[in-house]
């Protein structure tokens, strides 16, 4: 058996590695960036070792727009760099398992096939859709769980470009029931950028920094009205305020959260209104000393730092209610209900019981909790709702792909280069049931 490359080509991150392994060998941002000091666009280094790069005010080019591959020239550059200097493989001697988002347009599929076979000369190609891979991985982890016995699940993939709720049945994605919200991590970062730029410092060019802010400080609120009240308070009562220090390019090239403990204080806010007062009092005792010191060093614009209060939870909030942003789309809970309702009624109870959360945007703290709260009232009460989170939502799709690539009949499912040359793109695609 030859070398199989598994490539999860996401809008935000490329996850790539060899089939059969547990973790991808390389995870890099799927973009090229141009720092202020340079005139050329350069490749980002793998995320694990990105401590030295200066990403301040870097311009970005991404080959993927709204989740779909539109710039194949740029993607070719990135893949060439990936295959030759990061993965060290020769495409002509390997097979490729590539993920492609659901409902890729025919013209995009054709461009992808051209890229794989004509530019890189891969021996064979298998195109998989992310939800079925996630299902495969989760089913393999619990061979006797409900998921693998019923062979169906509802995969909620909240990624960089958009959010999909996709029912999977017998390892196939039920494509007529898939529902999509056009909101993902990229839009959330841009929204946070817009808010911070208007309220504090202009950070419209700082994509990477604001990404970091979002990952470190944003969380999903369990009670928006209450949290808004808390965020309005002054001084030490405000459990949500925290300060982010921007890189200054001299002493530190990465931004950081000024007071990491303070950033975690929202966790002490309990859910029920009954037990809340005592908890907060306890919390105040613990942090009182710190508070005094902190009040003195409130965010000061000259020092390149900014405060976040309600932005911390209003940004992820948009996934649950896109209407607040002026989008005419339903929120995540309703999206799930609609996806389930498009399936056969026999499947409803099983689907609600095996919801799998994956994708980078589900990493916001309390995401699953909030989703369950919103979902429960919408689901008939004789159905159970069970939401499973993945241990590493970023890699879930890749791991499923790795599993599929290591199965014995993988080669038989692929389309080979010869078949592609014979039949063209459209014919070969039929094999993948797209």
């Amino acid at each position: 058996m030859s070398n199989i490359v598994v490539l999860d080509n996401g809008g935000g991150l490329i996850k790539a590695g060899h089939g059969g392994e547990r973790d991808p060998a390389v995870t890099i941002p799927n973009c090229m960036y141009r720092p202020l000091s340079s005139k050329k666009f350069i490749h980002p280094s793998p995320t694990a070792a990105s401590a030295t790069e200066d990403l301040t005010s870097a311009a970005v080019r991404r080959p993927i727009d709204r989740g779909y591959l539109i710039n194949s020239d740029l993607q070719r550059d990135i893949w060439a760099h990936l295959f030759s200097s990061l993965l060290h493989i020769s495409p002509s001697a390997s097979s490729l398992l590539l993920t492609e988002p659901l409902f890729a347009l025919p013209s995009i599929q054709r461009a992808t096939d051209e890229l794989v076979f004509e530019d890189f000369n891969f021996k064979s190609l298998f195109v998989a859709d992310p939800p079925s891979l996630v299902h495969l991985y989760e089913a393999s982890r619990r061979p006797y769980g409900l998921l693998s016995e019923t062979q169906c699940s509802l995969v909620v993939d909240c990624g960089f470009s958009f959010t999909h709720a996709a029912p999977v049945f017998q390892n196939f994605t039920v494509n007529y029931a898939v529902k999509r919200i056009d909101l993902g991590g990229k839009a959330l970062t841009n929204y946070l950028k817009e808010l911070v730029s208007y309220r504090a410092i202009n950070v419209m060019d700082e994509t990477f920094i604001i990404d970091d802010v979002k990952e470190k400080l944003c969380f999903v609120s369990l009670d928006v009205a209450r949290d808004l009240q808390i965020a309005r308070k002054r001084g030490k009562d405000n459990l949500l305020r925290c300060t982010y220090v921007l890189p200054d390019g001299v002493t530190h090239t990465k931004g950081f959260v000024k007071d990491p403990d303070a950033a975690q204080r929202y966790l002490s806010l309990s859910d029920g209104s009954r037990s809340q007062p005592s908890e907060t009092v306890k919390d105040m005792d613990r942090t009182e000393v710190m508070e005094e010191a902190r009040d003195r060093k409130r965010a000061d614009l000259a020092k390149n730092e900014f405060d976040l209060t309600n932005e911390r939870f209003l940004v992820p909030e948009m996934i649950f209610q896109p209407a607040d942003l002026g989008m005419n789309q339903a929120g995540l809970a309703e999206c799930i209900v609609r996806a389930v309702n498009s399936c056969h009624p026999y499947l409803h109870s099983v689907l609600y019981e095996s919801i799998i959360l994956t994708g980078g945007s589900t990493l916001f703290p309390r995401f699953a909790e909030r989703l369950e709260r919103e979902l429960r009232p919408l689901v008939p009460d004789d159905y159970q709702v069970k939401i499973t989170t993945q241990e590493d939502p970023l890699l879930g799709v890749w791991r499923g792909g790795s599993l599929l690539a290591s199965s014995p009949d993988f080669q038989a499912m692929c389309v080979t280069k010869a078949e592609y040359e014979e039949n063209g793109s459209a014919r070969c695609r039929r094999r993948f049931f797209h």
Binding site: N190, E311, G326
Partner: protein, 195 residues
């Protein structure tokens, strides 16, 4: 230079020169007029509605999908700057321009080539794929969209400070929560997304 490339991208041949084989694969009824439109569907919707507020809201949503703030279009072809300088020279010397006729043609051809290869945005591709013409039972990108929420009520947050907003700006429709925020709004970005 931009005046040179623009008509080329919107001209009919840009979509036609695909090989015959590919043409056959596409169903004939799904082919639409060969003229590609330059405007994205959302922008078209915005232009159709004379209402400033909808325009502003749509422009704002569109901005959320941008990679870089505002400089997107400039980045696409890198050798553009050089070429435009040459063009200016040509304008100056008319005779020279005639003598360089052949070279100019190649440059034009090159620009044509570039325009054909230049990445198009997803919305353009989507429009070109003409998914509306598919029969209603075929799942497609458009049908997978979740659709409007069942509750029509929308929470409003103050665009200045983020708290719940009870008031609407009479000029541009953005929300604010108090007089203080209104003043800030008026001073800074009232009508920003409309103009």
């Amino acid at each position: 230079m931009s005046s040179l490339t623009k008509p080329i991208t919107s001209s009919p041949p840009s979509s036609s020169p695909s090989p015959l084989r590919k043409k056959k694969n596409m169903e004939d009824e799904r082919r639409m007029s060969t003229r590609t439109r330059k405007v994205a569907p959302r922008m078209a919707a915005a232009l159709a509605s004379a209402d400033n507020r909808t325009q502003a809201a749509l422009a704002r949503l569109e901005a959320l999908e941008n990679d870089n703030a505002g400089i997107e279009t400039v980045e696409i072809n890198d050798d553009d700057g050089e070429a435009s300088l040459d063009d200016d020279d040509d304008e100056g010397y008319m005779q020279k321009r005639h003598s360089k006729g052949t070279k100019r043609k190649t440059r034009q051809a090159k620009a044509l080539e570039d325009a054909r290869k230049a990445p198009r945005s997803f919305l353009e591709l989507l429009h070109e794929a003409n998914l509306e013409s598919l029969p209603p039972h075929v799942p497609s990108y458009l049908r997978a969209a979740v659709g409007p929420p069942s509750k029509t009520s929308r929470r409003h947050f103050c665009t200045v400070c983020g708290f719940s907003a009870n008031y609407t700006c009479v000029k541009c429709g953005m929300r604010f929560c108090c007089i203080r925020c209104q003043n800030i709004h008026d001073d800074t970005r009232c009508l920003k997304f409309v103009a």
